[in-house]
Structures are given as structure tokens and as C-alpha cells.
């Protein structure tokens, strides 16, 4: 299955890109995705080991299973207001 990762703000600068499509085996979790993303390029290894993530625009835990077409955003510490 294919999942789209999104990087915002400081994470985008760190990653050198705003998004990355990742191929994952069926049944993969958020935890699996984060590990794959961090291994997929030298710059991406600079992401925190356990960044906060949102799956399809909702904050999600690391045990959540992903589905084909999911959008997983890596959320840096927020600074709105």
C-alpha cells in the first residue's frame, strides 16, 4: 500500500521536502511508517525518533494501522496564537 507523508515548518526544512510517498506492507502501523521515513534518506534521519503525527488530519497514536491512500502528517511543536 502507498501512504503519503507530509512535513511542515521545521520538519520540512529538515527533510528538504514537503512530502514523501512511502510504500508499506499491508498491516503497517504509524510506528512502521515513521521508521521507514527516517531510514529513507539521510536528511530524514534528522527527524525526531517519535514525532507527533496526524493520520488523515487527526492526531494519531503509533499503534494505529494505516490504509492505502492515508495521509500522515509529521507535526512539529506547534506555535499558533
Amino acid at each position: 500500500m502507498r501512504v503519503r507523508s507530509l512535513f511542515f515548518a521545521a520538519y520540512r526544512d529538515l527533510a528538504g521536502r514537503g512530502e514523501l510517498d512511502v510504500e508499506l506492507p499491508p498491516g503497517a502501523t504509524v510506528s512502521d511508517l515513521v521508521a521507514v521515513v527516517r531510514r529513507s534518506a539521510e536528511r530524514l534521519a534528522g527527524l525526531p525518533a517519535q514525532p507527533v503525527v496526524a493520520v488523515n488530519q487527526e492526531y494519531a497514536g503509533y499503534e494505529q494501522h494505516l490504509r492505502d491512500g492515508d495521509e500522515v502528517a509529521f507535526i512539529p511543536p506547534v506555535a499558533g496564537g
Binding site: 507530509l6 511542515f8 526544512d13 497514536g61 507535526i75 511543536p77 506547534v78 506555535a79 499558533g80 496564537g81
Partner: protein, 147 residues
């Protein structure tokens, strides 16, 4: 209830005018303003970036929760994104209720929740042109994140 993420300048008077009723004895307005310093360094401008769709959704959730504290749905919150200058309004919150306590509580709730969970980031530009992402607040670890 009125909730918006916008790249246009916030019309504070419109936000304020969107709340209030003849049943309300209290109307409260909060505005967040871009200030000219950050951690002792002079700031010339800031840029707010949002995860737009999610930010709108989260802001709506926050407004809904605040409305329960308020006891009315007379609540408006607008957050600006894009390039802002010192003195610009980055966020405006207006609420109204029959008595003041509920308005203060609800308004405070909205701004404090924005600070900890709205997916918005701020890039500060300093004198001399240097820029950096404001450190921000780490969100509570995701459930089952193993931390």
C-alpha cells in the same frame, strides 16, 4: 459560532460584532498581536504556516469545547496565516454570555488550546534578515507512542 483560518487581515470589529445578544451581559474580545521581540531579540516580521484542513478542523473542535464552557454558541475565533508585520493581529477571539465568568473561561480556553494543539507554526524574522521557526510547544505524546 464562527471559526476561520484566513490569509486575509483579520477584521476585529467584524469578529466582535458576530457575538452578543440581548440575553448577554458580557462580551469579551481577545486579540493576539505580533510583537517586536522574541527571547530578547528584535523581530521585524513573522510568517504563520498552517496544516490548513486539519487546523480548521481542530479550531472547530476547540470552539465547540469552549462553547460548552460558555453555555452559548456565541463564539468567534479567527486565526491568520501568511506574512504578518509587527502589530498585526494573528488571532481574534470573541465570546458572549449572560454573565462574565463563562466568557472569561471560554475565551481563555480557546487561546490556551490553540497554543497546545492547533497545527500552526510561526517563523520569526529578525533584524538583519535571519529567520527561524519559533520553538513552539511539543504536543502531548500521541497515545500509544511508547513515551
Amino acid at each position: 459560532m464562527y471559526v476561520q483560518i484566513t490569509s486575509d487581515p483579520i477584521q476585529v470589529s467584524e469578529v466582535l460584532a458576530s457575538v452578543g445578544s440581548s440575553a448577554d451581559g458580557a462580551i469579551l474580545l481577545f486579540t493576539g498581536i505580533v510583537r517586536n521581540h522574541s527571547e530578547g531579540q528584535p523581530v521585524t516580521a513573522v510568517q504563520y504556516e498552517a496544516y490548513r484542513g486539519m487546523a480548521e478542523q481542530v479550531l472547530r473542535e476547540i470552539a465547540q469545547e469552549a462553547s460548552e464552557r460558555l453555555g452559548t454558541d456565541r463564539l468567534a475565533v479567527v486565526h491568520r496565516v501568511g506574512d504578518l508585520a509587527v502589530g498585526d493581529v494573528s488571532v481574534a477571539i470573541a465570546v458572549s454570555s449572560p454573565h462574565r465568568a463563562e466568557s472569561f473561561a471560554a475565551c481563555r480556553y480557546v487561546i490556551e488550546e490553540i497554543k497546545v494543539r492547533l497545527p500552526v507554526w510561526k517563523r520569526e524574522r529578525f533584524v538583519g534578515g535571519e529567520a527561524r521557526w519559533a520553538p513552539g510547544r511539543a504536543l502531548a505524546p500521541s497515545p500509544a507512542a511508547g513515551v
